[in-house]
Amino acid sequence: MLSELLGQREKTKVTEEEAAKTIFNGLKAAGINLVATLPDINLAQLLQEVEADRDVIHVPLCREEEGIGICAGAYLVGKKCAAIMQNGGFFNSNNAIVTTLLQYQIPLLLLIYYAGDIGDRTFSTSGSMTEPVLRALGIRYYVMREVADAPELITRAQILAEDSRRPVALLLTKELLGRRVSLKSL
């Protein structure tokens, strides 16, 4: 029964390439023109889109926290920025988020890959802590599962970030990114 349902879902599922293009075009439509990134295998196709674009400044990072600083600096001179990272990178970035973004009231769109999301193996501890930490920091967030919703949600998140002068997080799930979700129990 489960495999039948999953089979049906597979047929209607968008590919990784389509998902990456839709999300990246959503970022551009929201006015984003500088993107700082650190790879995760599930973000590879999206980062490919960022890298291939000529209009958006792409800053590949060594550690996510420096990306918070880079985006803050670029914001202060007029850029609209997004940072793309895994939730482990979000944890790495917390001091910069608190003592730069929140303390100075600087908006930033955070696109965080939701490792350890429900049903995702190997990162369940990170997954369990992601939303509680976002809530503790007072960062509003939305869990994105449907690619079709992504462009509008990205623009809405950017509006919220600018209006509240705070970071806003979009959690990118595996299914959003067109990655295969394996639901076999051990």
Partner: protein, 201 residues
Amino acid sequence: MKRFDCLRTIAVAAADALVVTSAGAVTLEWNALRPGDGNFRVRTLGLCSSIALGMALGLPHRKVIALDGDGSLLMNLCSLPTLARMQPKNLVHIVFDNGVYEASGSKKTATATGTDLVGMACAAGIARARWAHSDDEFRAVVTEALNGQELFFIGAKVTTDRTEVPPYPIDEVENKYRFIRHVEKTENVAILKTNLPTSYS
């Protein structure tokens, strides 16, 4: 060398450069020498070089100066390979290395036991990375860097002397707004826009 003397040299040559100062006394000393809204004070230890990089990438025709410290840079060493990778031609990264966490009780940093920050910058891929060993050398390399069009990394070994200066006059949020308004005015761009209430639009 004394950090305050080095800062005086920079203040003479800085013109309209945007200046990012690291958490610590360097912020107060710089602000006493060149007060103004083109200064941005960093509160996150380590983030000085990264915030300056973001500004340099966002405004590639405008000179940006990062006034960093050894404790700060040691906390964000990965900013060096990122600077080298992005190669912003308008960024001058100056590190005052006094070998201690000056604002935190003057405990020794790793440079006190031999870590060479200029060597690390070179190894990261910043071609124009050098130590200034005297006030004259410092003046020469700062002048070259600020007149040139290349990424520079300048290290200066300084004493732990502090100069008596007034406290920083504004808080973080005011610093942000003043800095952005300064960029808007001097670059003739609109950055902060306010929506009219719905009933007006």
